[in-house]
Assembly symmetry: C3
Homo-oligomer: 185 residues x 3
């Protein structure tokens, strides 16, 4: 079973995903937490600590900011629940690696092959994985269109990715103020 | 039947609207696509091409950035489905014509008569149209309130317009990650 | 009965809250409107006038930008409906009083005791109040993450507050284009 959990900033999406994973654990599955975040600055480090403090300490954590498809393939198993938190940080890392960021900022087409390879690998592997997969992603397209071109194009890529991943998930849930709203399943 | 399809950037709202129009076509209706967009720059031209490539080539396209009420009145018919994509670009065009943009930016009341005439004409004509009308509009009010006064006031006008149009539609749908969420109907 | 009404800018959330309060009035309750807004500038004054013009003139209005828990305790009664509009302006006032704003802007932990006291007092008093309580708050976390650090951290605090208040309300409703979407109850 694949579930995409969407939500805005501080919408409770990570907590909701952790509850789902706890439910899996109570049904006898092993939870593996796949963290895509990197503590690049103090604010980010604080957010990571805040999230980590809310997770059961015995969950195995795998840090993988870029090669997400490979990590999913490696760890997925029939008796496991993989919790990926979150697609937005992964997208940011994989997009801004190499030429992506400069191309987005300059308004050029995204020709960076590493981004497209990683993105396609994720969409290819997702339907084939055994066990349960819970993926957290940000809803960032419902505000005023940003003046900043980079932000605008990042929002486009995030929106497209959310659509493509949602199309592959049996369950899609929007978290609002900590409450789940079923979009599918 | 009138339907308003709301959604953020890259939420799949245009694709959802096109699916609805295809459903109308399969019931024997003729689809007319009313494009409010103008390719004012390269980024916009690219977005337009991206959208056009996803539409059936045999749909008649009418380009009308400003006089939307008149276009609806002209083309609506019992056996037709008009697809308007999108209200946000129309609002932008009609609002920033003449004095509107300068008044918004200066924080002045909106006294520009052309904007109010076009807006009212749209709300007047909408309930009277025969056939099916599908209208796409952006949800832009759910982010942090913009520092830019113009953006803030545009978001206000977009929100008011969405409310007023929604009140006249039998069906209102929010698109999130390509999935429809029924708000009415 | 406690209800939290969430929504973006110009989503119709205040009007929805006023409809709920009118329903209470028709069941024989007295409506007291608790306004957290302060008319600090012309734009704000205009928004306040716009809201006030839509409310029944006989509703008692209490202005309380900061000491919200105390106001709720003072006015709540079995035969009363208190309408609080809105949590976002209250949060802004209570957060930026004293040291809060400077700490947020500097990226420091929020140590300002007045903010935490007022926030905790609100969460403590809310479950104990008699009568009906309707609380309006903004959804501001679904756009692109702001570049401005202060805006980013304000959005975090707003999101956390919405989650904590939602957890104490029997009913939580999202307003979109003037249409209510039940998240709970």
């Amino acid at each position: 079973m694949r579930e995409l959990i969407l939500g805005g900033a501080r919408s409770g999406k990570s907590r909701l995903a952790e509850q789902r994973a706890s439910d899996c654990e109570q049904r006898g599955m092993q939870v593996i937490y796949i963290a895509t975040a990197e503590a690049l600055d103090g604010e980010m480090a604080e957010r990571l600590m805040h999230h980590r403090a809310n997770r059961p300490a015995h969950w195995l954590t795998v840090e993988e900011p870029v090669h997400l498809a490979q990590a999913l393939k490696t760890y997925a198993a029939a008796n496991r629940c993989l919790l990926v938190d979150c697609l937005t940080l992964w997208l940011s890392a994989v997009l801004f690696q190499g030429e992506g960021g400069a191309q987005l900022e300059a308004g050029l087409p995204l020709t960076c092959p590493k981004f497209w390879q990683e993105r396609q690998a994720l969409l290819d592997v997702l339907p084939q994985l055994p066990g349960d997969i819970i993926i957290v992603s940000n809803e960032i397209g419902s505000g005023v269109v940003p003046e900043n071109r980079l932000a605008r194009r990042f929002a486009d890529e995030q929106g497209r990715l959310n659509q493509d991943v949602a199309a592959l998930c049996e369950r899609v849930t929007l978290s609002i103020a900590g409450l789940p709203l079923a979009l599918r399943g």
